[in-house]
């Protein structure tokens, strides 16, 4: 019978080919950009060597038996069915191997958990479906922004060619200085998300209502990309994480720019805008914040994501719609945008919905939004 020989040959070839390709395509871990990631990758390689040796060893016995102890070769079955010595050995030896592995692993676990004395502390908030960053302590204190996928919908829907960083690009990148210990506090506004940068070996779930933390110290400059890794609803696949690591000087420069930008964008909420101004600005905000659920057509994806075109709320009294957008709708994916957007931005996007897809219910001014904030 050719079965077992073919089996072992095929399995062996498949493993070799697959591992060979993996190295050729560099489809192992992404290159480490922190000592922590390098330590993890070393651990992984050491464990892989160990388990490969065990695997090959055990199955060498099995395939040899498949080859040599076949009935078709006239092999007579032995009738032994226990051997206390052998059984004790193969219980004790794996246990010893585990203890040997446990030692270096434990050291990494303990250092991974040590978030003490950071040089920069950033709070990261998961929203459905974007990340909010707030620089709490250290250089850059007070900076805060929302980071949203910047890949155009056309690329996702196949109407335009996909760019190099398809799904891994954002409008506002998190920027950190190289070589500094950064503590990241994670939390979430709605459901559980998970923040991960593979190059730093740093991953932490963002749990709504609780603060968790992790730390990393990037040892090279560059841009590092990743995605949310905890299923958080419809657009889970579309909330990337991008961290740009820069030199200390560049970081100071970036901090300066951010502070200037913040000062410039501090808008006067009492200014009265014309309706076309609001609608034009609102269209862009709609594309960044609302389109995934309510769709470019305003028809939504009912019933989970209701239509805005012809909607009673959108065509109803201003205050009711402002309240809904400010505070969200509990137990649905409708977020409380009051925490994410300014009064002017909220007025713009609400005005856009009230003037689009056949809705004609009139613009909302920033002051009217401000008045509804609690």
């Amino acid at each position: 019978m050719r079965g077992p020989r073919l089996f072992s040959a095929l399995a062996g070839l498949a493993m070799l080919a697959a591992t060979g390709l993996a190295y050729a395509l560099e489809w192992n871990f992404q290159p480490a950009a922190s000592k922590m990631a390098a330590d993890i990758h070393w651990l992984h390689e050491a464990v892989m060597v160990l388990v490969t040796v065990i695997f090959v060893g055990v199955f060498a016995f099995m395939f040899y038996a498949c080859y040599a102890h076949r009935k078709s070769k006239g092999h007579q079955a032995a009738q032994f069915h226990e051997n206390t010595t052998v059984e004790i050995i193969w219980t004790i030896v794996p246990a010893i191997i585990l203890v040997v592995i446990a030692w270096p692993v434990t050291k990494v676990v303990i250092s991974q958990k040590d978030t003490s004395s950071p040089e920069l502390t950033v709070k990261v908030t998961g929203y459905q479906w974007k990340w909010g960053y707030e620089y709490l302590k250290g250089e850059g204190e007070g900076i805060s922004f929302i980071s949203t996928l910047s890949t155009p919908r056309d690329q996702i829907e196949g109407k335009a060619p996909k760019g190099e960083h398809y799904l891994l690009e954002v409008d506002n990148e998190m920027v950190v200085p190289v070589g500094k210990k950064v503590r990241v506090l994670t939390t979430a506004a709605d459901v559980v998300h998970s923040w991960w940068v593979p190059a730093f070996g740093a991953k932490q779930d963002a749990v709504p209502g609780f603060i968790r933390d992790l730390w990393f110290r990037a040892d090279k400059t560059g841009t590092f990309r990743s995605q949310c890794v905890e299923l958080c609803g419809k657009e889970h696949g579309f909330m990337p994480i991008v961290v740009r690591v820069v030199s200390a000087e560049d970081y100071s420069k970036w901090v300066g720019e951010q502070h200037k930008l913040a000062a410039a964008s501090a808008e006067d909420v009492n200014k009265t805008w014309t309706a076309p101004e609001l609608v034009a600005r609102g269209e862009k905000l709609y594309a960044a914040n609302c389109v995934a659920c309510h769709q470019p057509t305003g028809k939504g994806l009912p019933p989970a994501f209701p239509p805005l075109a012809g909607s009673k709320v959108v065509n109803g009294p201003k205050n009711a719609q402002v309240d809904l957008v400010l505070n969200g709708k509990p137990n649905t994916a409708m977020a409380a945008f009051g925490k994410q957007l300014t009064d002017t931005e909220l007025a713009a996007v609400i005005s856009f919905t009230r003037a689009s897809w056949g809705n004609k219910s009139g613009a909302v001014q920033p002051a009217e939004v401000k008045a509804r904030r609690k």
């Binding site: 019978m1 695997f55 102890h69 032994f80 069915h81 193969w90 709504p208 609780f210 696949g237 019933p303």
Partner: protein
């Protein structure tokens, strides 16, 4: 001995094949049956239908993932597919398949006339189609099926539509079915063994089911509790999983995985049992280390209750918590290793032949061990931090669930089909089924290890461009795997309709009671008088 009172049993003589089922014919025979063999058959066919349903969803998932971009399904529907694929495969396909084996085999293997509670047995099965209907119906409710993953994590579950409620009720019913079935199995094994069939003489399949049944009784109520808390959070204003009301979303994960990890062994242990029958039979040699197999199985079952949080290394637990769960988890490698070594030692110096059941058992041994070793890799906290919620995890648990449990179920089907039907399946086609399944399985899942290492998150409908090549290979493998399973259906139907008559002992090395003390095919009622064991 407590025998089942069978009011119509006297009308039927041994070996008389027709008119069984309490005088009912046609569909009513199957609805009213209290016969363990009929119910076993029902479980197995139900499981196959669910396997095809869940499989169709897997095909849809792999179709969408064939290329980057959104082509066929919107992300919401995609999430619904991943959720229902998981729930249907775990609760609808794999678990009922092994309960089917238990029903057919346990009474015959221990020399009992039937299961202890025959009517309860009927009900345990007939709960399942209703639960499955609820799961499938949820797709047609406003908002569709829940898109939260089979783990049903809070608080995302609170955002879902009425489909979530249907799913919760389905889980309740499935749990009830499992608990009732388990009570029946425990009672049967403990009380209805033939004289002389001591516990330590039971075939290993019976042992693994005895332990599994205890796991089910302990774990399923925990899951029912978790989903009930979700239900009250959704509708009745409780805040078990909502921090705003003093709850904690992570509490859900603890409760779920306190069920979820034993669940892994609920699926794996009966598979170990099947393989422990098949490998000795085709090695023509007794199982090596029978006693240590029993102890190892018990050790795995006990350990399975203290390792749950290794599914949660990234939720942010204290370092002592991470270390405890890591050490406890790695310990499972010891009894699992013992089992693998015992199987290999059983083959060693045997007289091996490679019929389809043996091929699937060897496939199981080879690939399950691979999945076990990636499990060891994942048990180590720092490495898991890199791999958690990536495709590496998807690859790992499919090696355990598909190459483990499903391959063992296939081995069991080919092994016992001659005993059940009295006919032989087509050996050539069986071998084709094995090789196609083996090759396509690895094509789907081996490459997913690389996707995970490279950083592709699980449960995403669209992905960055660097993941395209492996996803294409994986999708092609999935389509091939799906089509290959239609071959199984053909082989089984062909066997039932026109298979050659099976010899009394089709497998030379098979030595449990159903082979040595009963005719082939097994008559409708067996062991009405207990066999005499020396």
């Amino acid at each position: 001995m407590s025998a089942v009172v069978d009011s119509h049993g006297h009308d039927h003589s041994h070996g008389h094949d027709h008119g069984h089922g309490g005088g009912y014919g046609g569909i009513m025979r199957w609805i009213t049956t209290t016969n363990h063999k009929d119910i076993g058959t029902l479980y197995l066919w139900f499981s196959f239908i669910m396997f095809m349903t869940g499989g169709a969803m897997a095909m849809a998932i792999r179709l969408e993932l064939f290329s980057p971009g959104l082509q066929f399904f919107n992300p919401d529907l995609f999430n619904q597919f991943t959720t229902m694929h998981g729930l249907i495969m775990v609760f609808g396909a794999i678990m009922p398949a092994f309960v089917g084996f238990a029903n057919w085999q346990i009474p015959m293997m221990i020399g009992a006339p039937d299961m202890a509670f025959a009517r309860l047995n009927n009900w345990s099965f007939w709960l399942l189609p209703f639960a499955a209907a609820l799961l499938v119906l949820s797709f047609f409710t406003p908002g569709g099926a829940p898109g939260v993953g089979w783990t049903l994590y809070a608080p995302l579950t609170v955002q879902m539509g009425v489909g979530m409620d249907l799913t919760i009720f389905a889980v309740h019913i499935l749990g009830m079915s499992s608990i009732l079935g388990s009570i029946n199995i425990i009672t049967t094994i403990l009380n209805m063994r033939a004289p002389g069939m001591t516990l330590m003489r039971m075939p290993l399949f019976v042992w693994t089911w005895l332990i599994t049944a205890y796991l089910l009784v302990a774990a399923m109520p925990v899951l029912a509790g978790a989903v009930t808390m979700t239900l009250t959070d959704r509708h009745f204003g409780t805040t078990f999983f909502n921090a705003a009301g003093g709850g904690d979303p992570v509490l859900y994960q603890h409760i779920f995985w306190f069920f979820g990890h034993p669940e892994v062994y609920i699926i794996a242990l009966p598979a170990f049992g099947v393989v422990s029958q098949v490998i000795p039979a085709f090695s023509r040699k007794p199982l090596f280390g029978y006693a240590s197999m029993v102890y190892a199985t018990s050790a795995i079952a006990i350990l399975s209750f203290i390792v749950w949080a290794h599914h949660m290394y990234t939720v942010g637990m204290p370092v002592t918590g991470q270390l405890f769960f890591m050490y406890a988890t790695t310990l499972i490698a010891v009894p699992t290793g013992v089992k693998v070594f015992n199987w290999v030692a059983t083959m060693w110096k045997g007289s091996l032949t490679f019929e389809t059941p043996m091929l699937f058992a060897i496939g199981f041994l080879f690939l399950f061990t691979l999945g076990g070793l990636t499990g060891l890799v994942l048990s180590l906290v720092p490495i898991d931090i890199q791999l958690h919620d990536t495709y590496y995890v998807v690859a790992h648990f499919h090696y355990v669930m598909v190459a483990g449990a499903l391959f063992a179920a296939f081995a069991g089907i080919y092994f016992w089909l001659p005993k059940w039907t009295g006919k032989m399946y087509d050996e050539t086609l069986g071998k084709w089924h094995f090789w196609l399944t083996m090759i396509f399985f690895n094509m789907i899942f081996f490459v997913q290890h690389f996707l995970g290492l490279a950083g592709m998150p699980r449960r995403i409908p669209d992905y960055p461009l660097q993941f395209e090549t492996w996803n294409k290979i994986s999708s092609i493998g999935a389509f091939g795997f799906g089509l290959s399973q239609l071959l199984l259906l053909y082989i089984v139907l062909k066997c039932i309709r026109s298979g050659e008559t099976a010899p009394q002992l089709p497998w030379e090395g098979a030595d449990s009671l159903e082979w040595t003390h009963l005719p082939t095919p097994a008559p409708y009622h067996t062991f009405e008088t207990p066999p005499v064991l020396k």
